[in-house]
């Protein structure tokens, strides 16, 4: 039986040390060991995006990362999206555009959209749709989600001024 591995990582700006079995995914570590349950398990095979986190600046499915791979990494989860001043403009835009119904896919979409807007604050609708191809939603039909991301872009633009 392989022993547990000690992993040092940074999650949402905080240095974290955890123990995990090699077979535990980063998603399982977040949810089961660190009680960061915002990231969801949808398909557990890299299709749905509900478990999205940003790892070293790149959007990844945390179900397809092993816990030990987080060693030395910088990880951002949905729990780190909200700032001290309250909801992130993306979160406010999702609420006001009714971009969620059951809510299971929402953390993944918000993390994905944040990763996009961090690098491309003026993404077009086509770019947003392409970027979100790895996120599944079975409630909204996607349109309201795309509207919400476009709305968040405008909100972020106003905040910059």
């Amino acid at each position: 039986m392989p022993g547990k591995i000690q992993v040092n990582t940074t999650i949402n700006g905080e240095q974290i040390e955890f123990l995990c079995e090699p077979r535990q995914s980063l998603l399982e570590v977040l949810r089961d060991e660190l009680n960061l349950i915002g990231s969801k398990e949808g398909c557990n095979n890299g299709n749905c995006g509900a478990c999205n986190v940003i790892m070293n600046g790149l959007l990844v499915n945390s179900c397809l990362v092993l816990g030990p791979e987080a060693e030395g990494a910088l990880i951002e989860t949905i729990e780190g999206v909200m700032g001290p001043a309250g909801l992130h403009p993306l979160q406010q835009a999702f609420l006001e555009n009714a971009a969620l119904q059951c809510g299971i896919c929402t953390p993944g979409f918000i993390v994905a959209a944040k990763a996009l807007l961090d690098r491309n604050p003026h993404a077009t609708e086509a770019e947003i749709r392409h970027w979100c191809a790895g996120n599944l939603c079975r409630c909204t039909g996607y349109d309201k989600i795309i509207r919400a991301v476009l709305d968040a872009e405008s909100r972020l633009e106003v905040l910059k001024k």
Partner: protein
């Protein structure tokens, strides 16, 4: 998930030594987008995962006009398509890197992993073949080079012995008036496995009227990705015309030996080979003219 040990050696020698001891009970972890799913679903059994992403040679990507591209086997797709030099120089590789999975998969998945997974429908392989790429393989005693078209031997199988490691891909610098393209047919826009894939490259004469050299490779139409050698040879020296493109596409269809499955019938796939080869040639020719 089944239990296994995790090792992340920081040197190539360290990884090879582990493979020497563990053999086929170990599996190399690159982006993990295939491997982790296979292990979780008990389609693959192992007792050690060797994470190779801490080894400098495996994550190095460098280009110079003399030697071409040296692509570490674990370099993720996003680093390939975001690099302005690669975008200009290896358009077929960029096409493939940009359509494998979604953004999340492209952050992790590598061409080396795609090769070692050895799926007949792997998107990067026809593009690599079209670009004349060669696999650099290290064993504990020696190293060897294998052209990409000779790497896969059957679905999920390839020429690597259990103690060898695919370290990098070497892609020669393109000549002048060169273009390449990879096209995949799927019944939607994103996130699907190829019904058929087609990678082509073409070198034009200085007046851009004649094909000097061409290479056509197909995915998802045989037990391994295949080089349609005759189709490329046919085009060499021919004037670029609808007729010559049509004949090359017809030649490519003769090397397709597809099966019928949930993604399409054999007949449909053979038809698609003709369509995609024509379209990919047109795209590569346009790019060669613009280069």
């Amino acid at each position: 998930m089944q239990t296994f040990e995790y090792a992340a050696p920081s040197t190539l020698q360290g990884a090879l030594a582990l493979l020497q001891v563990k053999g086929d009970r170990a599996r190399v972890l690159s982006g993990g987008t295939d491997l982790i799913v296979q292990v979780r679903e008990d389609r693959r059994h192992l007792d050690t995962m060797i994470d190779i992403k801490k080894i400098p040679e495996l994550i190095e990507m460098r280009y110079d006009p003399i030697h071409g591209l040296h692509l570490g086997a674990s370099v993720p797709c996003c680093r390939i398509y975001e690099d302005p030099i690669i975008q200009r120089t290896y358009p077929g590789l960029v096409d493939a890197a940009f359509l494998i999975g979604g953004i999340q998969i492209q952050s992790r998945a590598s061409f080396g992993g795609n090769l070692c997974n050895s799926s007949p429908a792997a998107d990067s392989i026809p593009a690599l073949i079209a670009h004349h790429a060669v696999c650099c393989i290290a064993g504990s005693e020696s190293t060897r080079k294998v052209p990409v078209e000779d790497f896969c031997t059957a679905p999920g199988k390839n020429v690597l012995s259990p103690t060898e490691l695919l370290v990098a891909l070497e892609v020669p610098p393109p000549p002048k008036h060169f273009g390449a393209s990879y096209l995949r047919f799927i019944p939607r826009n994103e996130m699907d496995i190829a019904v058929v894939g087609c990678g082509v490259s073409i070198e034009l004469s200085a007046d851009q009227l004649t094909c000097v050299r061409a290479r056509i490779a197909l995915g998802a139409v045989a037990p391994t990705p295949v080089l349609a050698k005759e189709a490329g040879l046919y085009l060499a020296g021919k004037r670029i015309s609808e007729e010559s493109i049509q004949k090359a596409a017809a030649s490519a269809q003769t090397v397709a030996h597809p099966i019928t499955d949930m993604r399409g019938t054999a007949e449909y796939r053979r038809h698609l080979v003709g369509v995609l080869t024509r379209r990919a040639l047109h795209s590569a020719i346009e790019r060669a003219k613009g280069a």
